[in-house]
Amino acid sequence: MSGTFVGMPAFPKAAHDAVRNTTLRANLKHATHTIRDKRARAVAELDDWAALREAGKQIKDHTLRHLDHYLVQLEESVTAAGGTVHWARDADEANRIVTRLVRETGESEVVKVKSMATQEIGLNEHLEAEGIRAYETDLAELIVQLGDDRPSHILVPAIHRNRGEIRDIFAQEMGRWGRPAPEGLTDTPAELAEAARLHLREKFLRAKVGVSGANFMVAETGTLVVVESEGNGRMCLTLPETLISVVGIEKIVPTWQDLEVFLQTLPRSSTAERMNPYTSTWTGTTDGDGPRTFHLVLIDNGRTDTLADEVGRQALRCIRCSACLNVCPVYERAGGHAYGSVYPGPIGAILSPQLRGTASEIDASLPYASSLCGACYEVCPVAIDIPEVLVHLRERVVEGGEVTLRGTKVTLKPAKGHAAERAAMRAARWAFTHPAVLATGQRMASRTRRFHPRTVPGPGRAWTATRDLPQVPAESFRDWWQRTDGGKEGQK
């Protein structure tokens, strides 16, 4: 991944600061709870939800197991439909390809529809350095871009901003990028949206090059799919003469029919709608309708490394619906920025350390950014067992071991900063294999619980600086079981 988030503190530090920002917490809480409740209602409308979720999981697993075949098939069908396919092994190569393609058009600006893949590779920054202006056209992305900020949510990237902040950003910054905000702009959402409409329309009408991602690519037909709400996607996909789509290699589905699963599960999981306002599909180019030139840039950038890990591989099923963010108690309090990646929340905690490796402090800390409550797994429309992958990655961070990095097998050393956790895990394993010790320990803990400090002294301090020690129950489970014969004797 790119250097976008270089210098980020590790998750505990970033989260520690974020939870003290009360505006941020209030914005986030309101937003995540609203979407979460609406989503539950939208999902409840489909009585075959469990079957759709299972089919989605199976389609993606099947595709991943035969990814070489489907990649080649996709390349053939896109080419047959009039598109050109490019392959990029990492962010740097992808950025160079896109820059070259834009240069070849003779243009020095592009309009962009929100795309996680281009954020992941830091395309905008790269283009900027090469003298090419990239305009984000999704309202929230515009807010982020004008505010010189970072996205904090997959679906609503400016979720951390309230209307007052947005008004100020528009009033101060729009003029520097194009059409200024109207005089006397208020903070009503309708007026803010109107200001964005006018500001961006000017750019759409003159744009010659569009850059997009894609939600799905159909191997059989070479069709790409973009799901959106505002129409900025349609603008970018149909008005420019040249369209460049930058897509991760995991976004493939085998057949046209497979879309029937994801076009049902994605909108409901994501925006809690029966269907999002706009879905566009295109297969190569069409005479007289839309772009005359179409380029597809397929990016690896750590995905094949993720594929090599049989437990972690399931993260590649993700369809970026963001449902897991909205139910996560850690995300709700810490906010998206604390994850130091374009992929925040539970999915970010398992995807970023796999795409980037666990060498940096932030990546090594991400598998710990979870309470393992399992809510993310429950809502995931492709049934990614996020807690399972988290535990698997924790083990990798703590113990080291064999992983694939940029296509090569390497042996990781245990992470340095995690000595305390390693010691704790070793102790836990010893205790679990010595039941008598465990029982005594628990009883001791119960009896002395009034004297327990809130933080642990010595090497454990780092761990408890960002966590409260769990409350020790009055009686251990074992004692309760023995006393009541597993509850048969009744309580007390």
């Binding site: 937003a31 009585d47 299972e54 035969h66």
Partner: protein, 215 residues
């Protein structure tokens, strides 16, 4: 080595060898999910389409084929449209009574010209009742994708019940992936500002759907 070969090589190593053409696709995927949700009469399916369209703030009208020209005239007049974009093979009778100046959909039209048009009238390829969605496939009675995007007012005519299906799976069966498709569920909308839904950021702010019953 080209990046293509590098990536395919990494994929194959990750999978423990070339996986080749999958013979297991049919059996790998359990398709026991439903083809449609609930059972409805044809009339009820059309009714559900109308309800779901309205739920996402499309304005829904119903009329007979004979009433269509008058209905379209009225809707354009009520919107104060001076000009209307017309796809090449929109049935001529539909706009026979409408006053606005016709702008014919041509490849040579610039986006700025379309931006000055008040309204657009199109047919559709299929409509999905369960989700309240109309799908356009660029056929000559629907025109290029951009004509239903740039003008601020879109009137879409759906022939009922012939063009209505219940569900997303049924819609995909009817559509040709080789054509560029646009699925539309209500007017353009955003919830990016404190999750308050606002209509029409970039696409048309008003979507009117006329359900015309076939004679």
């Amino acid at each position: 080595m080209s990046s293509r070969d590098v990536i395919l090589g990494r994929v194959r190593r990750a999978l423990g060898g070339p996986a080749g053409a999958p013979s297991t696709y049919a059996t790998d995927i359990d398709r026991s999910y439903l083809r449609e949700h609930g059972s409805r009469t044809t009339e009820e399916t059309v009714e559900l389409l109308a309800e779901n369209l309205a739920d996402y703030r499309a304005i829904v009208h119903r009329c007979s084929a004979g009433e269509l020209p008058r209905t379209l005239m009225r809707l354009l007049a009520e919107h104060g449209a001076q000009s209307v974009v017309v796809p090449p093979e929109l049935p001529a009778s539909w706009l026979a009574e409408a006053d606005p100046v016709r702008i014919h959909d041509r490849a040579a039209n610039t986006a700025a010209e379309l931006d000055r048009a008040d309204s657009v009238v199109t047919a559709c390829a299929v409509a999905v009742a369960e989700t309240g969605t109309i799908v356009l496939d660029g056929s000559p009675d629907q025109g290029r994708r951009r004509i239903t995007l740039v003008p601020d007012h879109h009137i879409c005519v759906v022939r009922v019940p012939g063009q209505v299906v219940s569900s997303v799976p049924q819609a995909l069966e009817r559509l040709d992936p080789a054509r560029p498709l646009t699925w539309i569920s209500g007017p353009s909308a955003t919830s990016d500002i404190e999750l308050d839904r606002v209509e029409g950021v970039h696409g048309p702010r008003t979507l009117e759907v006329v359900l015309v019953s076939e004679d």
